[in-house]
């Protein structure tokens, strides 16, 4: 059942509203810019597709266009942060942090300055553009940098909240966004706090917990509802903040359910699954199934086709839950 405290969209399973998480960034960064004049936005020839255009229109004097130059994007942003600004550096995740990782590490990470790196078009969701543009390694890249907070919002409303929160953190942040219009799961009432897991769906005596991040979380909710109809109770927790991980909640839910499935539109190596496994290996060793790209690059196709091929659709999630539960009883 829907977790009563999550204040989920009432039309979640019946023609839900749809919006892209990048659109939530676009509205959020304008609001952040109104609240704090230190907020500036930089882009690398992708003003519209990063949804930075509203900010550029509202605050032209605080908008910087660096051209197709992602290394410059990160380092100019770092310089502006040295001089007191709160820069949002926007491009596609494949290039930002894909191409400019060392610049981010040195000039933003080691310097520990409040630059918000915004990686758009993350994951297989990027679809027809193919493997080059489907960032599936960005969470791993950014998670490994000390001082870095890593947030992957599940829908446009959460993306809006995450953008506002990132502007206030005062330290380096990576925000991960997707391209397509996806179901809006949360509402303005849904709690959002950086570093705090959000339980969206809870079963009575859950037999497994699904930890999910990003828009793909909608598939986890669909799977949970179907599993409930089959008599299998599961919990779905939205892990919007992958770093710092809400270790207390993750450990407690794993302990209660005794079986874990992780779900992400990212490589299973080093992403959400890796983060959860690192936590549970220390606190609560639990049978785990990892859903995500299995050490493969993406390819062209529709997101629906790709999610099926890469095992991120509802049927694969249900199967993974059953595998995890079976492993628990075989112990």
């Amino acid at each position: 059942m829907i977790h009563p405290d999550a204040h989920i969209a009432p039309n979640l399973f019946d023609k839900p509203d749809k919006a892209a998480t990048r659109a939530g960034f676009g509205s959020g960064v304008v609001e952040a810019g109104k609240a704090d004049q230190r907020v500036v936005v930089l882009t690398a020839d992708l003003t519209e597709s990063t949804c930075a255009d509203a900010f550029a229109k509202t605050f032209p004097e605080r908008f910087v266009q660096v051209g197709v130059a992602e290394q410059n994007l990160a380092t100019v942003a770092a310089g502006m942060a040295h001089a007191g600004k709160i820069p949002f550096a926007t491009s596609y995740a494949a290039f930002n942090p894909g191409r400019n990782w060392e610049q981010i590490r040195t000039t933003i990470g080691i310097n520990n300055v409040p630059v918000v790196i915004c990686g758009m078009h993350a994951g297989l969701m990027t679809g027809p553009d193919g493997a080059t543009h489907q960032a599936l390694e960005d969470i791993a890249l950014m998670r490994a940098i000390p001082h870095m907070t890593v947030i992957s919002p599940c829908d446009a409303i959460e993306a809006h909240k995450a953008t506002l929160a990132a502007a206030k953190l005062g330290s380096p942040v990576y925000l991960r966004f997707g391209r397509d219009n996806m179901p809006t799961m949360t509402t303005s009432e849904t709690p959002f706090s950086v570093g705090k897991a959000n339980v969206l769906w809870c079963g009575e005596q859950s037999q497994a917990v699904i930890f999910s991040t990003g828009a793909i979380t909608y598939h986890a909710l669909l799977a949970a509802r179907e599993l409930e109809n089959e008599g299998i109770a599961v919990t779905v927790a939205n892990i919007h903040t992958i770093k710092p991980l809400d270790e207390a909640t993750v450990s407690r839910l794993a302990e209660e359910a005794g079986a874990v499935v992780t779900l992400e539109d990212h490589q299973v190596i080093g992403g959400l699954g890796g983060a959860i496994a690192e936590c549970l290996a220390r606190t609560t060793p639990t049978p785990m199934e990892f859903l995500g790209a299995q050490n493969r690059f993406g390819q062209s196709g529709t997101p629906t086709e790709l999610y099926e091929e890469y095992g991120l659709d509802v049927e694969h999630i249900k199967a993974a839950v059953k595998r995890a539960i079976a492993r628990k009883s075989n112990r």
Binding site: V66, G67, Q71, T75, G79, M80, A81, A83, I110
Partner: protein
């Protein structure tokens, strides 16, 4: 403003002191970069003594001029120049590269007040300087931004991205000073990856370019003054320098790019510098 003879002498003495400290700290550390550190001593002395608006007792003074060191491996020249300017005791220079020191092998902004950015990985200082210059302009401030860059860094793509960006935004509050010493780790820049003509390239990127002898204090000061009069472009001061400047036996020798003097070498080098200091008039 033209320097007086007394000012030039003061700066020359400061440059000599900086060189002596560089030799001593590198010998104590037993590793580090000698040639570039020594060849930037005249420029750093002129900047800290004469050009920069700064307050060693208040490194984060909001009205300060910014000096961003892009090629962080010549950190010894910045540390020595800062110490002799009064940012911290000169003795602390002897902790260079040691565990727990604020004077890391490559400079770190978060550790040492007055170091404006962390650097070492080449090619990203100039764009940070451009970012600082952009932010200052947004705030309507008059502070100048200087960025010390190496010639080898002009093999990095990020550097040229920064060159384009600074010209696009007409950052006349930004002055880069290039250590054109013609060497890099593997040899001559013109053998490893030919850079010439850097003057033409910088002009083509729409920068104001001033070529100087990087060991002539009057030329260094005059170029910084000239840069301040340019209205619609960033300025590149292309300073021709001699790697290892001040120690005749190693001058021009690329093998000294990345090594430090041993104890015996340091004794000889320091004696040479002391003799030179006594003859500054």
């Amino acid at each position: 403003m033209t320097l007086t003879d007394v000012q030039v002498k003061d700066i020359a003495i400061r440059a000599n002191d900086i060189r002596q400290t560089i030799v001593a700290m590198l010998a104590e550390a037993k590793s580090g970069h000698t040639a570039g550190s020594l060849d930037m001593a005249d420029i750093f002395a002129t900047l800290y003594v004469h050009v920069l608006k700064h307050d060693p007792k208040n490194p984060e003074w909001s009205e300060r001029d910014w000096l961003i060191l892009s090629n962080g491996h010549v950190a010894p020249v910045q540390y020595a120049a800062m110490a002799h300017a009064g940012y911290f005791p000169v003795e602390e220079c002897m902790t260079l590269r040691s565990f727990g020191s604020r004077l890391q092998g490559h400079p770190e902004r978060a550790l040492l007040p007055g170091v404006e950015t962390t650097s070492g990985p080449l090619g990203s200082g100039l764009s940070q300087a451009a970012g600082v210059a952009l932010a200052l302009r947004i705030d309507g401030k008059q502070n100048r931004v200087f960025c010390a860059v190496s010639d080898g860094e002009y093999e990095e793509g990020n550097t040229w991205e920064a060159m384009m960006c600074a010209a696009k935004y007409k950052l006349n509050n930004l002055t880069a000073i290039m250590d054109r010493n013609l060497i890099q780790i593997d040899g001559s820049t013109e053998d490893v990856m030919p850079l010439e003509s850097l003057v033409d390239k910088c002009r083509a990127f729409n920068w104001h370019v001033i070529e100087i002898d990087g060991h002539d204090i009057r030329q260094i000061a005059a170029a910084c003054d000239e840069a301040n009069t340019v209205v619609d472009k960033p300025t590149m001061i292309l300073a021709r320098t001699i790697p290892g400047k001040g120690i005749r036996s190693i001058e021009g020798e690329y093998r000294w790019h990345g090594k430090s003097p041993n104890e015996d070498e340091a004794t000889v080098f320091l004696e040479e510098l002391r003799v030179a200091r006594a003859s500054i008039v």
